[in-house]
């Protein structure tokens, strides 16, 4: 029994291997296209995941609005203003940040070198009231109201910037749709090319297949080498793509972090593992499905 299984496996594997190299050009084309599809898939998933995290961070940041106070504002007026805001039902908390505290925060920003900070001379940063709201949709109204107060600095009055999040969400959506369309097109192409590879292999082996049928080989015995060839093609493309994405993800994130210092990009190894597994599975699927289509029409006499 074991010998029989070994015989089958050995026969299928050696035929598949021969098939792959016999029409190497088409086979390699199939492998490369699977590789490209999976690279696109992996990059898209990781990219969208990063944007998603950026959006989440920005959203939590966005429920806070800093109202900058003019340097001339007396502390008592500032405290009255704070109390006034705290009575507002839309507001959940208000924190007073002095000029010194603002400077301290500024110093701690990771991307700033100490020289830049020293070169500022006297502290140019305003004191502020950091208002946290229950619902970020109320921010626009609060922003409008506080701008009317004489206590508020005029340049700028607040840090309210409604469009940033919307822009990121839009970017994620456009990138997602474009990537999806690209991946669907490449998927169809790769299945087609693998199918072509298998049909070429079947054509090259037509004599052997004829003999196999005459002497009483089962359909599956005839099919296995070709299915295996598809799995090999898809699997090889997948392994190459997994290696590149697996080793390239961390350097890519680090690069982005150093270029876009204010955007919170993260390295997420758990999500990476999921993506790599998905890529491997999808590569195998492309191979199996392509070769199934190649085998189905052509081995049914």
């Amino acid at each position: 029994m074991l010998r029989r299984i070994w015989n089958r496996a050995e026969f299928a594997a050696s035929s598949a291997w021969q098939n792959f190299w016999r029409n190497a050009t088409v086979s390699v084309a199939g492998l490369l296209i699977v590789w490209v599809v999976l690279l696109a898939l992996g990059s898209l998933l990781l990219g969208l995941h990063s944007l998603d995290e950026v959006v989440n961070v920005e959203k939590s940041r966005a429920s806070v609005i800093s109202i900058f106070l003019a340097d001339s504002t007396p502390l008592s007026s500032a405290m009255d203003f704070k109390a006034h805001l705290e009575r507002d039902p839309r507001v959940s908390a208000v924190t007073f940040v002095t000029k010194d505290q603002a400077m301290e925060k500024f110093r701690q920003m990771p991307a700033l070198s100490p020289e830049v900070v020293e070169s500022l001379g006297t502290n140019p940063l305003p004191a502020s009231l950091d208002v946290t709201v229950h619902d970020i949709r109320d921010l626009a109204a609060i922003d409008k109201e506080v701008r009317a107060s004489p206590l508020v600095d005029k340049s700028p009055a607040t840090n309210y910037e409604p469009s940033v999040i919307d822009k990121i969400i839009l970017l994620a959506r456009v990138a997602g749709i474009a990537g999806l369309v690209l991946i669907i097109a490449l998927t169809a192409l790769s299945i087609f090319i693998i199918m072509l590879t298998i049909r070429t292999a079947i054509y090259l082996r037509r004599k052997e297949i004829e003999v196999m049928k005459l002497v009483g080989a089962t359909d599956w015995f005839v099919r296995w080498p070709f299915i295996l060839e598809g799995i090999m093609t898809g699997g090889a493309g997948a392994i190459l793509a997994v290696a590149i994405v697996g080793f390239g993800y961390r350097p890519a994130v680090q690069n982005l972090q150093s270029v876009l210092i204010f955007v919170p990009f993260f390295y997420d190894p758990n999500f990476l593992r999921v993506v790599l597994a998905a890529m491997l599975a999808f590569g195998m699927f492309l191979g199996v499905f392509g070769s199934y289509l190649g085998v189905r029409r052509f081995l049914h006499q």
Partner: protein, 244 residues
């Protein structure tokens, strides 16, 4: 007919009013009925296009009968499921005019191929291949490739391959079509020997000399109909022979 009822008395092959019309409309066989008992030796003759190869293809169910029933060893071929075909084909050894050997395999590998691809008992592969090669008289040529052999030797390899499953039926579709008269006789001797060992042999042929000398059962087909079915027959009908 149920297979448990199959006895030596029931014919190994039965055609009941079998017609075959190809999808393009060609009527290759019309209302063919015949019985072939076990261990029979039958020549299938008739002009080109008469339907001999079609009959052979129906027997291994490479084609299905359009109407009528065909029984092989008690099984009705029309009822066989696709996954049962390998078992039918292992009961039938078949050779053709063009040998159908695989050029990149040696003699030994060509014959062993039939065992390997049918999940045969690998422990017995080597002794079995040696046995059938010695039946066809090719001992010592195991390592040769087909293009190193004469036509007659290549046909012997094909016959050896057809014998590895100990078939009940041996089909030969113009096995001597590519061979010279002397070699044709050698191949025929081999088929007679296979028949003598208990295998039913059906040979489609245009070789008049062999048919006339052998005086075996002859089924003549013309335009898809059985024109003649006689024991100890000749290539042409008796009247023709006498008028010569």
């Amino acid at each position: 007919m149920v297979s448990t009822m199959v006895s030596d008395a029931t014919p190994l092959i039965t055609f009941q009013n079998v017609s075959k019309t190809y999808p393009n409309g060609t009527e290759a066989l019309r209302e063919v009925s015949l019985d072939v008992p076990r261990q029979d030796f039958v020549f299938l003759v008739g002009p080109s296009g008469a339907g001999k190869s079609t009959l052979v293809r129906l027997l291994i169910r490479e084609e299905r009968a359009t109407t009528g029933k065909i029984f092989v060893d008690g099984q009705e071929l029309g009822r066989l499921k696709r996954r049962q075909l390998p078992h039918l084909r292992r009961k039938i050894g078949i050779v053709f005019q063009d040998f159908k050997l695989l050029p990149n395999l040696t003699v030994f590998q060509n014959v062993g191929f039939a065992v390997r691809v049918t999940d045969g008992e690998l422990r017995h592969l080597k002794p079995k291949v040696e046995e059938v090669l010695s039946i066809v008289g090719l001992d010592g040529k195991e390592k040769k490739f087909p293009d190193e052999l004469s036509g007659g030797e290549q046909q012997r390899v094909a016959i050896a391959r057809a014998l590895v499953h100990d078939p009940k039926i041996f089909l030969a579709d113009e096995p001597t079509g590519n061979l010279d008269p002397a070699t044709s006789w050698e191949i025929l001797q081999l088929l007679l020997q296979i028949n003598a060992r208990g295998t039913t042999v059906l040979m489609a042929t245009h070789n008049r000399e062999i048919v006339d000398v052998m005086r075996r059962r002859v089924i003549a087909i013309e335009s898809g109909r059985i024109a003649r079915d006689e024991d100890a027959g000749g290539y042409h009908a008796q009247a023709n022979l006498e008028s010569r």
